[in-house]
Amino acid sequence: MLHLKYIRNFFTVICFLLSASQMAAQVKGTPENIMSSFIYNFTAYLTWPVEETKAPFKIIVLGSNEFFQPLNYIAGVKMVKGRKIEVKLITKESEIEPCHILVVSEDFQKSLLTLNDNELLHETVIITNCLGCLTKGASINFVSVNEKIHFEINKKALDIKSIKASSQLLKLAVKVI
């Protein structure tokens, strides 16, 4: 089972390296794989207040291993603005530490409010995949429209954290609040 999972993730990464759009259009990857590639692409259109050029770009996955695997492979082959990507999987809120992106699985959507208040995440883009999570404090939330994965952006939440989203990204979001 583990073996099959490894193959699938590897295939996903290869597809990602070719093109995110190609992967989205052609490869029948899992939604988590497509979302993972979207997460990586967001980094090109988001600007964090403090950009340390040498420190790794940190992504933490809370709760779900489904995001961790593809993100971990992406981290192995890609960089964000010349920086290495570090991906970490945690299963408890107490394990949270400062990071650039926090991907929250459905299991932890109830904790969104608490996470918003967490001082350690004051410059962190919180990404979720649940209906209505955008209003509960998520910075970017994935939604499905006509069986295609789209995203919606909470510009206010980003503004609070002094994180700037490019107009092109905002233009592509199905919903911006």
């Binding site: 093109s19 759009s21 090109a44 789209h150 233009k171 592509l172």
Partner: protein, 873 residues
């Protein structure tokens, strides 16, 4: 117009200038068109490239986040671009991602291209460019533009070109027309002047120079040329005269050459005719040769290493094949076919040797005829030139019948030889069978002659028996000699001897007989005759005795001359000439034939008639011959020639004086002699002879008994017969010699075999000596003495004298049987002391009684005439 161009410099110049201008204009227009089109392409490409960059940049997020709707919106930004008909984006997989079409151009299939392209087709302009984000390929953006802008540009270019071309050509023509005059007019003037000179032949005309350019130079050249031609014209006539004279001289020379060629032609014609004639003669000769080859009895075949080239009719007849079956065929194939298998290698080898230039001898081999019969031929191959190469000509003679005859002859010869051998064997056997009993006859007669108890009459009978026996033995020996000669089994035994001594000995032997018949025997040797020679003395002696004996036999008066001369370095000649009855002419050759005698010979002397036959055959064996010349009643001369080698004095055989053996020197020594013979009489003879001498004798009847006696009695000497029942002498020798004790025992074979090769064979068995039966007492005793290392005591002269006294009765008895007349002559000679007469008479006695003759000879030699008289009294 073209006619003018061809003939007028004016038009040529106008045309050249106008055409040059036109070409330059065309080149200019073409360059202009190309530059314009290139400029258009670059302009449009730059526009589209800029637009594509903007659109790509705007479309990247939409492509990354897979939002085709947003991408299509981005493409709508090109709506203001008038010529753009369609714009579309394909993704990395080549699928259409987003598209835009101008109103009215929605029906389009949006082809997907890859890479960066710019292409102008008949209908539109297509442009594509890859979309990349941070170096990563995301898709391709496509633009399709209306072609109308490009077509209007082309129309403008064409129109402008035509206008420029027309104006340029017109201007160029006008300028050329004006400018050509400066060149064409002076040239036309020059041309007219040329025409004038040509018609008038007036070379004094001169052109006035108008400028210093090339035309001016041409005028100068013309004037100089006209002057030169004028001068040349003046000299031309002289030159023509000279050339005419030269031509006439050449013509004469040509005429002479032609005559010479005609003569050569005649000679060639004659040579050709001769060659044709020679060729015809050669053909005729070849035809003759062909006829000869075809009609000759010998088969002829000519072949190279590859093919059979020629065969004649005789060759075809010989092996039964037709000419077509042989000629042109492969040589090795035909050779394998017609040569007898066993002879194939020999024939092939000789052919190879022949090709390599070796000389080949005539050889015999076999063909296989077409019908499969063997054909014997005798052939000789030779090499001849053939078709620029070499070929072998084989000439063969049919030998089949000859072979058959030869085989039959060989069989007949073998049969004859077989018969001859059978005859020889018969004679040898008969000789053996006769000599064996003769041994007893002669042996006993010798023993009995010593017997003192015998009376005179009995002693006379014994002597008669002995004489008859010896005569018979001589006859047998003659017959055996003939047999051996005919069978080619005579073996010559050369040895060194004194020729003079031998001749004198023989003469001495016959002296008494010659004196008895009042004949003189004279011997003469040339000074250059070598005294010591090497040859078979016994055979020469035999021949000489025969010749002298015959001379004495058939002479009743005169002198018998013996002349010995050197015929050549290796040949001696001995002539015996008498003054006897001679030989009739018709008998001269017959006397050499066996059993042939003259009538007088038969009537007067008798004999076997073999003497001369044997002598001649022996002479021929000795490398010489015997010839005769004779006149009846006047005498005969026999010439005996024989080959010889130089002899050596130290090799001379020793002649011991005849001494009678009395007994063994050591009387106390017990020497045991075993006598082995199946004939009791022979054993008895040997036993009696040896017993008297002092040997201890035992007898054995056959080989088995001999072996027993050898083992038990251990004899010192064995006298062994060869032919015996149960076990023959050969087996006895091999068995005895195989033992240790048998190595020392002396074995002397005593055989009646008279063949030399048999003697050699017996000696090779390992026996010590060979004594022939019937043997003389002394011969046997001497052999035993030599082989066993024994010494005898002999009757010396004093003892003999004593013996004479003691045995006077004995010799008296012998004397008594002499004829009365002889005894009277002997007495008379003794009284007178006539030594010559005594020797003559003793010689006569020696023919019948050698014992008495020896005794008388000793007495005469010691001048004891009284003792002789006493014997006679």
């Amino acid at each position: 117009m073209f006619k003018h161009i061809r003939h007028s410099i004016k038009y040529k110049l106008i045309t050249i200038q106008t055409a040059t201008s036109l070409a330059l204009l065309l080149l200019f227009i073409l360059s202009y068109a190309v530059i314009e089109v290139q400029d258009f392409r670059q302009s449009v490409k730059s526009e589209l490239n800029a637009a594509a960059d903007v659109l790509s940049h705007n479309a990247v997020p939409a492509i990354i986040f897979n939002d085709s709707t947003e991408a299509a919106k981005t493409l709508h930004a090109m709506d203001s671009y008038n010529q753009l008909l369609n714009a579309w984006i394909s993704d990395t997989t080549g699928r259409l991602f987003a598209a835009y079409s101008k109103a009215g151009f929605e029906q389009y299939d949006f082809p997907i291209l890859t890479g960066n392209n710019f292409e102008i087709t008949d209908e539109s302009i297509l442009f594509t460019k890859e979309i990349k984000n941070e170096g990563q390929f995301l898709g391709t953006i496509h633009f399709r533009l209306d072609i109308i802008r490009f077509t209007s540009l082309i129309r403008t270019i064409v129109l402008m070109s035509l206008l420029v071309l027309l104006a340029g050509t017109l201007i160029s023509f006008l300028i050329a027309n004006y400018m050509q005059r400066t060149i064409s007019e002076p040239l036309l003037l020059l041309a007219n002047t040329f025409q004038s000179i040509s018609s008038t032949k007036d070379f004094s005309v001169s052109m006035r120079k108008q400028s210093n350019d090339e035309i001016g130079t041409l005028y100068d050249g013309f004037n100089a040329l006209a002057s030169e031609i004028r001068h040349y014209h003046e000299n031309l006539e002289n030159l023509v005269k000279e050339r005419t004279q030269e031509l006439e001289a050449a013509n004469r020379q040509l005429h002479n050459t032609s005559s010479a060629l005609q003569e050569i032609n005649i000679a060639l014609k004659r040579e050709i005719e001769e060659r044709i004639k020679a060729d015809e003669e050669r053909k005729a000769s070849e035809e003759k040769l062909h006829i000869i080859l075809q009609t000759m009895e010998e088969g002829v075949a000519v072949y190279t290493a590859g093919k059979i080239k020629f065969v004649n009719a005789a060759f075809c007849r010989l092996i039964g094949y037709s000419e077509e079956e042989l000629v042109g065929k492969d040589t090795s194939e035909i050779t394998d076919q017609i040569i007898f298998q066993a002879d194939l290698e020999k024939v092939n080898n000789s052919a190879s040797d022949c090709f390599s230039g070796k000389r080949i001898e005539r050889m015999e081999y076999r063909y296989v005829s077409k019908s499969g019969e063997e054909v014997w031929v005798s052939g000789i191959p030779a090499i001849i030139p053939w078709d620029k190469g070499n070929a072998i000509i084989a000439t063969v003679v049919d030998m089949t019948q000859h072979k058959k005859d030869k085989d039959e002859l060989l069989k007949a010869k073998e049969a004859a030889e077989s018969a001859n051998k059978a005859k020889s064997a018969f004679l040898a056997n008969m000789s053996h069978e006769i000599r064996t009993p003769m041994n007893a006859v002669l042996g006993y007669s010798q023993i009995l002659q010593k017997d003192k108890s015998l009376g005179k009459v009995q002693l006379g009978y014994i002597k008669a028996i002995n004489k008859s026996g010896e005569h018979l033995l001589a006859l047998i020996n003659d017959i055996l000699d003939m047999s051996k000669i005919e069978a080619g089994r005579i073996q010559l035994i050369p040895s060194s001897f004194d020729l003079v001594e031998m001749t004198e000995d023989i003469a001495e032997l016959f002296r008494m007989r010659t004196e008895e018949k009042n004949l003189q025997l004279q011997i003469h040797l040339d000074t250059d005759v070598p005294r010591i020679i090497s040859a078979d003395q016994s055979r020469i002696r035999q021949i000489v005795i025969n010749l002298i004996s015959n001379a004495i036999k058939f002479s009743s008066r005169g002198i018998i001359r013996i002349n010995i001369t050197l015929k050549n370095k290796r040949m001696l000649c001995l002539r015996v000439a008498d003054q006897g009855i001679g030989v009739p002419a018709n008998m001269l050759q017959r006397i050499f034939e066996a059993f042939e005698q003259t009538e007088k010979g038969i009537s007067t002397e008798g004999g076997t008639g073999l003497g001369l036959t044997i002598s001649r055959k022996l002479a021929r064996l000795l490398g010489g011959d015997i010839t005769v010349t004779s006149e009846p009643d006047e005498g005969s001369t026999f010439e005996f020639t024989f080959g010889f080698e130089t002899g050596f004095r130290h090799e001379l055989s020793r002649h011991t004086d005849f001494k009678r053996i009395r007994h063994l020197k050591d009387k106390h020594k017990n020497i045991k002699v075993l006598v082995v013979d199946d004939k009791p009489l022979n054993r008895d003879v040997a036993k009696t002879m040896l017993g008297v001498i002092g040997f201890t004798i035992r007898e054995a009847e056959n080989g088995l008994e001999a072996l027993k006696e050898f083992e038990t009695w251990k004899p010192d000497i064995i006298l062994l017969d060869i032919v015996m029942p149960l076990m023959d002498g050969r087996e006895v020798v091999s068995r005895i010699r195989a033992t240790e004790a048998g190595q020392k025992v002396v074995i002397i074979t005593v055989s009646a075999s008279a063949l030399d090769e048999e003697k050699a064979a017996i000696l090779s068995l390992g026996v010590n000596d060979f004594v022939k039966k019937p043997f003389q007492e002394n011969e046997l005793l001497e052999s035993i003495g030599i082989q066993a290392g024994l010494e005898y005591e002999y009757d010396n002269e004093e003892e003999k004298e004593q013996g004479i006294k003691e045995n006077r009765f004995d010799y008296k008895a012998l004397v008594l049987i002499l004829p009365q007349e002889l005894r009277a002559k002997l007495a008379k000679a003794s009284i007178l002391g006539d030594i010559d007469m005594l020797r003559h008479l003793i010689g006569q006695i020696a023919e019948t009684d050698s014992t008495l003759a020896d005794h008388l000879f000793l007495l005469q030699k010691s001048f004891k005439f009284e003792e002789i008289l006493e014997l006679l009294s």
